[in-house]
Amino acid sequence: MSIILLYWISSISGQDLPSVSDAYFFKGAIVTTQPNASPQVLDILVREGLIKAIGVGLTPPVDAHIIKVDSLYIYPGFIAAASHIGVPKPKPNTETPRVKRPGYPPNHIAGITPEQTIEKTYSAKEGSIKQYRKLGFTMAHVMPYGKMLPGQTSVISLNGKDFNQAVITENFGQYAQLSGARRMFPSTKIGVIAKWRELYRNATLTKKHTQAYRSNPQGKRRPNPDEATAALINVVEHKQPVFFHTEKHLDLQRALQLQKELGFHMVATETMQGVMSISKAKIQGVPILISLKLPKEVKSSKDSLKISAADKNLLKRKQASISEYEKEGMEITQENQAGGFSLLKVKPDNIYKNIRRMIKSGMSDQNALAQLTTEPAKLLKIDRITGTIAKGKIANLVVSTKPIFEEKTKIKMVMVDGHIHKYETKEKKKKSSEDVDIAGDWTYTVEVPGMEVGGTIKITKADEGYNLAITNSAMPGQTHEVSNITTDKNGSMSYAYDINMDGITLNLQTEITFDKDTFEGTVSLPDFGTFPMTGSKVETPE
């Protein structure tokens, strides 16, 4: 009985559950209310999901939960200016659907579905909601997956049981990419651009005819556009901006050219090389969402004597190029052309690391914070309800152990719509790989939405590091061997191996960090997503 009681008590005090009172009093934290405000010690009162009061030496109401946050840092909840948060990644189609006339495929097969909405694909149980919330994100601008015109975007709160509870702004914009369909029109970028012109022109004609019909329907045919054309009328009428996925310079230039030609409202999205187009973007009024994905750092080789002078020069140019990508954050924010950070391509684990790389390359902390708060709030027209910590705004807060962009900072709490989520922030002991002996038998589980996959890993010492023998419940009877894997000084290891499922080869990229008898980390499948992985050592008698 007492065990059950204990369990019950622990489950009420557990995270993510509704509390008896919805009032919270954050006492004495170092608060940065908005990017350009200097941090100061303040109290914050939250009630009914809103910020009720903020000030020095406030008196906590009797019913409020007092959250001890002295010496902790509080920031406005972060907003992802572009992301796929909350939308399950569709399984890649291995079979290309056959169409009779590849030059004229049905729109939905060719990746032209501007009528599609986030509501149809959103899932409150999607792992990414938790994952990004843990990183301080409280709201997200969500794009559907797809090809040329995947559908309309929505702004959601990272909270809520279903779409209706989560949604802040429905169908805010259109998401567009220069990605062609496979083996049918439009299969190339030139095809996509041609199709854009045609769709836009037909939407304009439909709009014109609809207006004429409304003013006098007599003797006119009833307007009867197809779904895609009808959906694009909002773009023609400038009611929806187009979030154009433009990672590289040339794609950005192509989208800007199309924008100039057709005149829709555009936001350059997931942009990694925006600097060369910044004046054009300014003239054409196109904000840029800076991609948080950066190219991998390339270190000069230790034994540089072995490389030829030519290869040394190539390496130097590559490093110079990487630093250009790192400077994008500084240059675009200084030109006031940024509308926030885009999270469509970055691995969640690299978000803070990459922001730090941009800061090291000249972007100010203040500008970095603005890209996570005020800038996306303005862009998404939600700056009256969020983006800063102020009375009357939604209670979206991030609590961290140190200033947010410092290397050792941990996120301790995230409040979304007045719901508090607490996270363990144990300082990991410094240890070398020598300190923990990870050899032995381990079991693991991977949380894939809708199913749980698990297996065992047998770790044995090898000449260099360890050898792994991995089994997976999804593929009984198969064992995958990975040799000579080492752990780094933080006790982390990463390895990859291929599995074969129904004739498709999948490359599983695993990154895990060991802590005594447990580990946690992630498994990434290119084109599928990243899933949390946890494991523990199997006790073996001495």
Binding site: Q257, N313, L314
Partner: protein, 450 residues
């Protein structure tokens, strides 16, 4: 301060570009000037001001210009390639036998190193073409090799006439007929693609005329169809057709089709059997752009001759020699010289094949293709006569700006992909045997039907 200049630099550069095409001022001194239109002028100076040739003469003096000493060197107009696929990211939108709606000018890639390599062969202008997968391919783009610009729009030769790619024979038959079991499976089918498209374009134009001439607004606007818009523009004479072709019978076929629809602007490309129908081509006013001596890479290209360019020229067909390859484009002057071995063309006739004649075929002969006052400052400077096998290009100038200099640094790439594998090996050049650029972006269609 220096930091802020650095930050502003891209912006300043952009302003420069906005204020018109980037042009330069150069005085080339004391060269042997091969004008193409006015003979060869020894010890002659050429002055370029704001990107245009303003003076040709001896002992020219000018302040505030870069002076290039061309003593003992040969100065010729920048070479023009009437058939290439460089500088574009997409070559084939192979999804339909008619893709007149697409335009390779929408996917220009000013960073591709092949542009710089072409400059190193004295080529200043090329015709970046859609591939030959479809009977009616996409629209093409005449580009100037302004190596160094980052804005793809800056690569376009603005004001150059619109052009479109057509293709006869095996390629469209293979991609659509064999590959997907749709028309065209045969050469007859290819003809029908043209006839149907032109006929439909007439209907389309009529529909729009009816709508536009009905001011009451009672009519529903017709569907806007970009394919038909382009076909209608061909019928209106606004677009020059450049047609991939080999066999004489098919060449005659297309001329018959065009005659039926009143279209007369046509340049046949490859046209390996052009020598069989040279008088007919001349009578139609069709142009021909050929290889010097390249054939037998597929069945329909076995009957051919290295005398093709000469026979066509002697029959009065305006003929050019093209590359269709990122390797041949580096030495088109060698390709032109072959016509002296096979056919005894004069120096001037041979050089016209890679200068003024391709300019005529692209409709830009009033701007480039010869060294004349008023023309654009596109110049190639060689250490020997360009038709000599020992000739090496020294410097290539576009709009009065030096875009290639033999003393350039080793690595002239502009945009470095930080994730690309780097290697000092030169990649193998592609040609018709090792991977047909003409059919780039097409292979996804074949993998489906083994």
């Amino acid at each position: 301060m220096t930091k802020s200049i650095y930050i502003l630099l891209p912006f300043l550069l952009y302003i420069l570009q906005l204020s018109g095409q980037d042009t330069g001022d150069i005085l080339i001194k004391n060269g042997t000037v091969i004008t193409i239109t006015d003979g060869v002028l020894p010890h002659t100076d050429v002055l370029i001001r704001n990107g245009k040739i303003t003076k040709i003469g001896q002992d020219l003096k000018e302040n505030n210009v870069r002076i290039i000493d061309a003593s003992d060197q040969y100065v010729m107009p920048g070479i023009i390639d009437a058939h290439s696929h460089i500088g574009i990211e997409n070559v084939n939108e192979a999804s339909d036998p008619n893709t007149a709606n697409v335009n390779v000018g929408d996917a220009i890639d000013p960073f591709t190193i092949t542009i710089y390599r072409a400059l190193a062969g004295g080529v200043t202008t090329s015709h970046a073409m859609h591939g030959s997968a479809n009977a009616i391919g996409g629209q093409c783009q005449t580009i100037k090799h302004r190596w160094g610009v980052t804005d793809p729009q800056e690569m376009k030769m603005s004001g150059a006439p619109r052009t479109i790619k057509f293709a006869l024979g095996e390629n469209p038959m293979r991609v659509h007929g064999e590959g997907r079991h749709i028309v065209p499976r045969t050469r007859m089918g290819v003809e029908q693609i043209f006839r149907e498209a032109f006929a439909k374009a007439r209907d389309y134009t009529a529909k729009w005329d009816k709508y536009n001439n009905n001011p009451s607004g009672a009519l529903e606007p017709p569907q806007y169809d970009l394919k038909m818009e382009t076909m209608a523009d061909i019928l209106n004479g606004e677009i020059i057709i450049h047609c991939h072709s080999y066999r004489a019978d098919e060449i005659l076929m297309l001329m018959n089709v065009l005659e039926d629809f009143g279209v007369d602007k046509i340049c046949f490309q490859h046209v390996n059997e052009g020598f069989k129908v040279a008088p007919e081509l001349a009578a139609f006013g069709a142009r021909a752009s050929v290889f010097a001596d390249w054939w037998a890479y597929k069945f329909e290209v076995y009957y051919s001759t290295a005398y093709n360019a000469t026979i066509l020229t002697r029959n009065g067909v305006i003929t050019s020699i093209n590359s269709d390859s990122r390797e041949l484009i580096r030495h088109l002057y060698h390709e032109a010289a072959k016509t002296q071995r096979y056919g005894d063309l004069t120096d001037n006739e041979a050089l016209r094949l890679i200068t003024l004649n391709p300019a005529i075929q692209l409709g830009i002969e009033d701007r480039v293709g010869s060294i004349e006052v008023g023309k654009e400052g596109d110049i190639a400077i060689f250490n020997k006569h360009p038709l000599s096998i020992y000739a090496v290009p020294q410097m290539t100038i576009v709009d009065g700006i030096v875009r290639f200099d033999i003393h350039d640094a080793d690595d002239m790439r502009i945009d470095i992909d930080p994730e690309e594998k780097i290697s000092t090996f030169i990649e193998e050049s592609s040609d018709h045997t090792s991977g047909d650029r003409c059919l780039q972006d097409v292979y996804q269609y074949f993998s489906d039907h083994k």
